[in-house]
């Protein structure tokens, strides 16, 4: 029967390992599943450490069955990402609870690997990479001490030595193993950071803006203007009932652009995991360079926004271009009808206001200016939590509370403009960005979530041509919100008040030392995260193919990659075995020392014959060098004793050093003789 570790240190290590792998899944798995698993683990731990009665197999089975029943009740399946994670968590706890032999501990270890993979599914940052590297050391150490013969002890040196051997193969696998062009699964309930819904309603954008997490990062390939002009288009909404807006009919025709800007600026976006299919693009997107996403197709929608054909899988990146000018386009009758649609129950006071503001009918620019002036003069306020509105939401906001978030202003502005007879629509996305100089990129957070209006300004009534002009009433009501972006919601910004001259630089200069340091650390970590994210998202099958083509492979199919991978691994195995063999051939240190001893006398004309044993040779030397006879005898006797008489003696470092010292002493004596 194989022996296995039962000692206390091993058990505590195993307990700690399992608990660690359960804790990392706290954000992903319901607490009750974790609690059940941890309960079993702790019970086993108390049994091992305190000697109290441990969980019996029957009890484990009952708890396990109850847990599985509860999972099925909650998820109606055992398959899928979340249900699968819960099952794994339960299995890990139950398996440790019944672990009694080597095989059980081995299976527990394998479950830890599976738990780690579940954790990595939901988290791909730099910290996750760091945890992965640390965890590999812990798990390999466990494999060492789990060894059936029990000869291995806790040895970080041995683990690191093994990992050093493993590193070339690991790198080979990572860089050469072909990636699937398309991920065939998608996250059911990813830990998303961007959470726009398909419609705009009071509170929907505010909900997104409550989070400070990063929505996406951008790298511009050319210098650009101030972040106040960063409007990131997500989706365009056309159907309304007042404060609630929905997307237009997907089959609505795309805009007919008549002229395009000559100046197009390229940029690349790295999007964090999100559940909606929109791609965010900087106003005004260039429809000639629509974004391309590896493994997914992109469709353009009416309103010049882009949508993925399939739900996105994790992080991904895309490139596109933008121009600062809104392109000239023609407006069809159907589009005009869609963008003039008003709610059937529009309040009369709103209609009256619209008439009052439309001082020059047909002149959209004047109407916009009048509307902005009205909002500026009225005592409107901007708030993330404006409170709920009653039945007549629009008129209540415009004439009553005058307190709202961007969705209120955008909805009200669009309705007013439509009531005046100008085609208008609501755009939801993000506004602003923070620069991270450490990585030369910009960051857009969820706090930058925003909604604004676009109104069609006719320039040629004959041919129904014009352009869509942005109208942002929040910029009118709270200009500092545009300047500070996400920082507007911080406590430090609120202390500075609603000063018109406030800029991001001014805000940052007012930060305390601790806040400044924290900001610097945050930017540094994010820059590291960005580098990692860039590498992780861009290293796909297309990247591999390009790499292979660069080194001369015309056919860059998966078969070629696999062939290359296994050839490289076979080569590594051969080289490794040869290196080990060469190390072995270097020979015994004892024989080397004897050889060194024999070489001392070559210059004195005495050479050891191949057949000459140590006694014979030393006998000859004693005759030739009688003054050194004692030293020669000592050395020969030590060698014979270590080599022949005690085959199971440990040729220790001390013995090695002692023999070496004797040889060195003799060497010095012989040198003196020669001199």
């Amino acid at each position: 029967m194989s022996s296995f570790r039962r000692d206390q240190t091993f058990r505590i290590y195993l307990l700690a390992l399992v608990i660690l792998h359960l804790c990392i899944l706290i954000p992903s798995v319901p607490y009750w599943t974790l609690a059940l698993s941890v309960f079993i683990v702790l019970w086993k731990g108390i049994h091992w450490t305190k000697g109290v009665r441990g969980p019996r197999k029957k009890e484990i089975w009952i708890l396990g069955a109850l847990g599985m029943f509860a999972i099925f009740q909650a998820k109606h399946t055992f398959l899928g990402e979340e249900a699968g994670a819960m099952v794994l968590v339960l299995m890990a706890g139950c398996k440790l609870g019944e672990s009694e032999n080597y095989r059980d501990y081995g299976i527990t270890l394998i479950l830890c690997f599976l738990l780690l993979s579940v954790y990595l599914l939901g988290s791909q940052g730099v910290l996750s990479l760091a945890f992965l590297l640390l965890d590999t050391v812990l798990l390999v150490q466990f494999l060492f001490i789990l060894h059936p013969s029990g000869v291995s002890a806790f040895s970080l040196r041995a683990v690191l030595k093994l990992l050093a051997c493993l590193l070339p193969v690991w790198a080979l696998f990572f860089f050469v193993f072909p990636r699937f062009a398309v991920g065939f699964w998608h996250h059911e309930n990813p830990r998303i950071t961007t959470g726009f819904t398909e419609q705009l309603r009071p509170g929907s954008v505010g909900q997104v803006a409550e989070s400070d997490e990063i929505a996406f990062r951008i790298h511009f390939e050319s210098p650009l203007s101030s972040p106040e002009k960063f409007y990131w288009r997500g989706s365009v909404l056309a159907l309304t009932d007042g404060l609630n807006w929905n997307r237009s009919n997907p089959s609505m025709a795309l805009e007919n652009q008549v002229s395009k800007s000559a100046i197009k600026m390229p940029y690349q976006i790295w999007l964090e995991p999100q559940f909606q299919r929109w791609l965010f693009t900087l106003d005004y997107p260039d429809i000639d360079s629509a974004p391309k996403v590896s493994g997914n197709s992109v469709r353009q929608r009416a309103g010049s926004y882009y949508e993925l054909a399939r739900p996105p899988v994790g992080r991904f990146s895309y490139r596109t271009t933008y121009s600062e000018e809104s392109p000239l386009q023609s407006l069809s009758n159907s589009e005009s009808k869609a963008y003039l649609q008003l709610p059937s129950s529009l309040e009369q006071e709103v209609k009256d206001l619209a008439s009052e503001l439309n001082v020059e009918p047909g002149n959209a620019q004047a109407a916009i200016a009048k509307m902005e002036q009205w909002f500026r003069k009225q005592d409107f306020h901007y708030s993330l939590n404006p409170g709920k509105l009653r039945v007549k939401q629009l008129s209540e906001f415009l004439f009553g509370t005058k307190l709202g978030f961007c969705e209120h202003y955008a909805a009200a502005g669009a309705v007013l403009l439509r009531a005046m007879g100008y085609p208008a629509r609501v755009v939801i996305g993000f506004q602003g960005a923070d620069r991270n100089a450490m990585g030369d990129y910009w960051m857009v957070r969820n706090r930058n979530a925003h909604a604004w209006d676009e109104v069609f300004v006719m320039t040629d009534y004959t041919r129904q041509r014009g352009y869509w002009r942005r109208v942002d009433l929040v910029a009118v009501v709270t200009p500092v919100r545009m300047a500070l972006g996400a920082a507007f919601f911080s406590s430090e910004a609120s202390k500075l008040g609603d000063s018109k001259g406030l800029s991001l630089e001014t805000y940052r200069s007012h930060l305390g030392l601790l806040a400044k340091s924290a900001l610097k650390v945050e930017l540094f970590l994010d820059a590291a995260e960005m580098k990692w994210v860039r590498f992780l998202t861009e290293y796909d099958f297309e990247f591999q193919q390009n790499l292979l083509r660069k080194i001369g492979f015309r056919d860059a199919s998966a078969r070629v990659f696999l062939g290359l991978l296994f050839s490289c691994i076979a080569l590594w195995m051969l080289v490794f075995t040869l290196i080990q063999g060469k190390k072995a051939k270097r020979g015994s240190p004892l024989l080397k020392m004897w050889q060194e001893f024999a070489e001392l006398f070559i210059s004195h004309g005495i050479m050891r014959a191949v057949h000459e044993g140590p006694r014979e040779f030393s006998g000859r030397l004693k005759v030739k060098f009688p003054e050194h006879a004692e030293e020669i005898e000592n050395i020969a006797a030590s060698f014979i004793s270590l080599r022949y008489e005690e085959p199971d003696s440990n040729f220790s470092n001390d013995q090695q050093q002692a023999l070496k010292n004797k040889i060195n002493d003799l060497k010095r004596s012989l040198r003196r003789v020669r001199c």
């Binding site: 081995g106 993979s117 992965l132 041995a158 093994l162 493993l166 990636r179 699964w185 085959p647």
Partner: protein
């Protein structure tokens, strides 16, 4: 008697252990998950596990590759007593080998059933490692140590590697030392002529080896055998004197003892005669008559007694 063995390295075989098989399956599952979700970090974990499999396979293989079984000897023992086995394994690698297990497979000439023995050890680098173990000596007879199997799952327990070294070494189990009868001296019961002579026999004919005892002259040590790695042995020469004792199985059987008891009794007598340095003749039915004195003669007698089977 032990035999000097020189063996060529055998083939190393390797297969995954049960835990290793689970590990490989899990790594493939994780790879599928990583590919399915296009998650490079999960792929990284899967690749780590697969690389660990490859490295573990190579390291486990290398554990045995550099090991050579140099010699195996079994000290003859009487049945019911303890028999000592000495195995010398040479480790030619630059690394210490740990977690090596082994089996010594004995083959009975008549029964042909293996008797597995177990050993456990840590083998030093560039060293001839002696592994010693004891086993209770079973039934009398001449056994052959058929092969030595070395096996290991070191370092990670993911792969099981083994290597077979075929050997030809004898393992003698002499008959049990049991019997109360006194030596059958020709001059009467209880009397014996003390022939205290020097422990060394001066004669022309080489009689055999015996173990070196303190006080033996260095001139009679077999240095050539020692240079071949054996223990210190002293050469014995045959004196050729006439036997003093006559030990016969047929005569002993007439006293009513069973065959095995007779053999055991004869063994006791041979042992006593050897210790008293008496000359004696052993007669077994259908076997040659053995006569002589000293350890070598006693050994031949023990061997005959061990293998003695009544011919039908």
């Amino acid at each position: 008697m032990f035999q000097w063995i020189q063996l060529k390295p055998g083939q190393v075989y390797i297969i995954p252990t049960r835990v290793g098989a689970y590990f490989i399956a899990t790594s493939l599952i994780i790879l599928l998950i990583g590919s399915g979700y296009s998650n490079n970090l999960v792929n990284l974990l899967a690749f780590f596990m697969l690389s660990l499999v490859f490295v573990a396979m190579v390291l486990t293989h290398l554990q045995l590759k550099c090991l050579d079984v140099e010699s195996i000897e079994a000290t003859p023992a009487f049945s019911g007593e303890v028999q000592t086995f000495h195995l010398i394994i040479r480790n030619d690698s630059a690394e210490e080998c740990a977690g090596i297990k082994g089996k010594c497979i004995l083959k009975d000439m008549k029964k042909r059933s293996p008797l597995p023995q177990m050993l456990d050890g840590r083998l030093l680098a560039h060293h001839r490692n002696r592994v010693k173990w004891v086993e209770p000596a079973g039934k009398r007879g001449r056994y052959f140590i058929e092969k030595i199997e070395l096996e290991t799952v070191f370092p990670l327990g993911l792969f099981y590697a083994w290597k077979i070294a075929k050997v030809k070494s004898e393992c003698w189990v002499y008959p049990k030392l049991s019997g109360n009868l006194k030596l059958p001296f020709p001059q009467g019961e209880g009397e014996f002529v003390s022939t205290l002579q020097s422990s060394h026999r001066q004669g022309d004919e080489f009689h055999g080896h015996r173990d070196y005892r303190a006080g033996d002259s260095a001139r009679h040590i077999d240095w050539k055998a020692h240079a071949r790695g054996r223990a210190l042995l002293v050469k014995e020469m045959d004196e050729g004197s006439s036997p003093e004792l006559f030990l016969s199985l047929e005569l002993l059987a007439q006293s009513g003892l069973s065959k095995e008891d007779c053999i055991s009794q004869l063994t006791v007598w041979v042992n006593e005669a050897c210790q008293q340095e008496l000359s004696f003749k052993l007669v077994l039915p259908h076997h040659e008559v053995l006569q002589g004195r000293g350890m070598a003669h006693a050994r031949r007698c023990f061997e005959k007694l061990s293998c003695f089977q009544e011919e039908p």
